[in-house]
Amino acid sequence: MELFELTVHELHEKLKRKEVSSVEVTKAMLARIAATDATVNAFITVCPEAALASAAEADKRIAGKEMEILTGIPLALKDIFLTKGMRTTCASKILDSFVPPYDATSWLKLKNQGAVLLGKLNQDEFAMGSSCESSAFGPTRNPWNPECIPGGSSGGSAAAIAAQQAITTLGTDTGGSIRQPASHCGCVGLKPTYGRVSRYGVIAYASSLDQVGPVTRDVRDAAIMLGAVAGYDPLDSTSVERPVPDYLNSLQPDVKGLKIGLPKEYYIDGLHPDVKKALELAIETYRGMGAEFIDISLPHTDYAVACYYLIATAEASSNLARYDGVRFGHRTSESCGLNEMISRSRDEGFGAEVKRRIMLGTYALSSGYYDAYYIKAQKVRTLIMQDFLKAFEKVDVILTPVAPTPAFKIGEKSSDPLQMYLSDIFTIPVNLAGTCGISVPAGISKDGLPIGLQLIGKPFCEETIIRAGYAFEQATEWHTKKATL
């Protein structure tokens, strides 16, 4: 097995036993990136020198027996995480040359363990998209089939894992942006409960929905990464003061008596036959392990996409008002007055999808439409949350598809924003309800593309979805399948 194929836990053991050094493995990762990224385009920025310097530091820590689980592990971050001294673009021209003066809390926690940052990963611009096609740095390609999208918005994170360019990654999830690309690239993607992980230093898209989480090779790595980044942060007043459990204790292949809900609104006619088949097989697998299935209903599912596109765009229009060409970011070279300077800088700096969402959000918040659109959507959000609360009175977890189809072709949906939005129908409700979900590999389509299943847990019950995901992984071999590049 090549070094770049290892999981975090496998590499950790090798580093601990001194079978390999962090510098050696970092060199292997950099060589792998150089060999594959012309095809995949998962990286916006690669930092070989900084990575090798941190790897050398990590090797000293390992020699001095000050090793933690992520010490010396080469990883990469979605380019939405602020990294002190390393360019952070959010895949937008407006931040093309932005170098953050501080670190995101989640990155700082990994850095303090001695993790090695290889570089920054591609994504949809400002995390707005489901395909990675809205990046100002060109689309990322799916390592399983370069004609297909890797999913989005954390498409670079999933593609880098599938292409074996990083041992582990972090992404963010506002409407499915971790789980959907993980599903399309055959990775594990975990979206924690809102408030579980600090958002400090994560470039904001929709603040009431955004959450940080890992995209990894297996469930054990997802548990390791969640444990490393979770917890209250005084710098993010929406992070929640609750103790962080040891998620490794949840790695038990035991689902006997676990009550799994199947919401009828998610098993619809529009489901791709290969996705349907993968889910049926998954249900059989769980049944064989002693899990109990209960039919449930989440009656407001059909309204989730509409609700999301009003709330998310409204919050985005407010969050993105900060890009005004004054304090940081792109400023137009035209000479003009202040208002004209701001409007021109924003028009030049933002791509089409970002402008479309700012426009939609501004409209939904504008005088005369605020009640009909924004407040209405917030009320529907309450109904969607209540659907989940009611369902969780009867079940421990909910099992659903991640996306209605496997990865689609690049360009297939880019001219029709509404069709693109509808591809997030099964992941969006989890963000609106603020709860947690995990995507785990569960099949391969006839065309050779990965298919994931989604396990949705109660708020702050990441342990349950980790246990259920781990049990499935141990009983199947989908997570061992690899893309051939």
């Binding site: 809102y194 407001h300 509409a306 479309r356 501004t362 504008s366 009320k379 529907v380 959000r381 603020g434």
Partner: protein, 95 residues
């Protein structure tokens, strides 16, 4: 039509986006389609439902009013498109 070209121009002004003619045409059509779709929400009776602005129940988050180290002038200005001394420089505000 849910939204007119004139309204799109007005929203662009509110959003501080200097859109060109082509963008205004494209967005008018696309926003019209999206707004027709989101109008499905009006089918739902939401009388008496409390709007949710935040998914996790939370009281106001207070912290002690104490001075702490901050970014500092040089760090804050490091990414400025234009600066003069210790200030961000902008075009003339009052004509």
């Amino acid at each position: 039509m849910r939204i007119t070209r004139k309204e799109v121009e007005h929203v662009a002004t509110l959003a501080r986006l200097k859109l060109d003619e082509e963008e205004i045409s494209t967005f008018t059509g696309q926003m019209d389609a999206i707004l027709s779709y989101v109008d499905t929400l009006s089918q739902l009776n939401t009388d008496g439902i409390i709007p949710t602005s935040h998914a996790v129940p939370m009281e106001n988050a207070f912290r002690p009013d104490e001075t702490r180290p901050s970014l500092g002038t040089e760090n804050a200005l490091a990414n400025a498109p234009e600066r003069t001394d210790d200030f961000f420089k902008v075009p003339k505000v009052i004509e």
